[in-house]
């Protein structure tokens, strides 16, 4: 017997979300990444999805499910620095040392100054670390010299 609770739309396997730049998108429930404490400045955004843009680029859209107007451009740091590595024991990472590295996805947030796209920078100091097995993510702070919060992406 199916209980009424399982029929509620909120329990459906997929859901339609409104995005900032990509219209409406259908996403699977298991694609949702939970950020238990949100991101600094966006503490009310606990649920995100990673979406691809229609054009070819190494960029992905990290779209808030809670607030359609909130989205970030993110990328894998391997596109930016040769050997990006997380410092073991960084805040929020301790229990993840036990996790299979293949289950960990690291992304960095890009800042594109309005009207000056070639001045785009990447925040290597505070990457997003996503556990693909538990679908949980954190923005961590790496106390590491050389990893700037304003890493220049394009050569001038």
């Amino acid at each position: 017997m199916i209980s009424p609770v399982e029929n509620k739309p909120s329990e459906a396997r997929s859901l339609t979300i409104t995005t900032r730049d990509l219209g409406q998108r259908q996403v699977e429930r298991e694609e949702i990444i939970v950020f238990p404490v949100g991101l600094p400045g966006f503490e009310d955004c606990l649920h995100f999805v990673l979406l691809e843009y229609s054009f070819t680029s190494p960029f992905l859209c990290l779209q808030s499910v809670d607030r359609p107007e909130v989205a970030f451009v993110v990328t894998d740091p391997v596109h930016l620095v040769a050997d990006f590595s997380l410092k073991p024991g960084a805040a929020g990472l301790k229990d993840w040392n036990l996790e299979d590295p293949r289950n960990i996805r690291v992304l960095v947030i890009l800042t594109i100054p309005p009207g000056r796209p070639r001045d785009m920078t990447a925040n290597l100091m505070a990457p997003l670390v996503v556990n693909l097995r538990t679908h949980r993510g954190f923005q961590v702070v790496l106390d590491k010299p050389g990893y700037s919060s304003h890493h220049q992406v394009l050569r001038k």
Binding site: R20, D21, P36, V37, L39, P40, G41, F42, Y53, F55, T56, S57, P58, F59, V70, A71, F72, V73, A91, G92, K94, D95, I109, L110, T111, I112, P113, P114, G115, R116, P117, R118, M120, N123, A126, F138, Q139, V141, S149, L154
Partner: protein
């Protein structure tokens, strides 16, 4: 704000599982040790403020700028 006085080596407990201990006092600097569960994020206040500013700036990107800059990868 709650204000408490502690001596070197003395600690404070915040809730059930956060312990803050004074490790060293040297002139105007105080070294503090914090034992907290992994899910508790501990950041220097100014780092958190900077991160907040950077995230707010990052979220203010314009989609057409992103399309423009993506041409570099085609």
């Amino acid at each position: 704000m709650l204000i408490l006085t502690r001596k070197l080596g003395e600690a404070l407990l915040i809730g059930k599982d956060i312990r803050v201990v004074v490790l060293e006092v040297r002139g105007k600097q105080v070294r503090i040790g914090i034992a907290a569960p992994d899910e508790v994020v501990v950041l220097r206040e100014e780092v958190h403020q900077r991160l907040t500013q950077e995230n707010l700036q990052a979220s203010a990107f314009q989609y057409r700028d992103l399309e423009e800059v993506s041409k570099s990868w085609r």
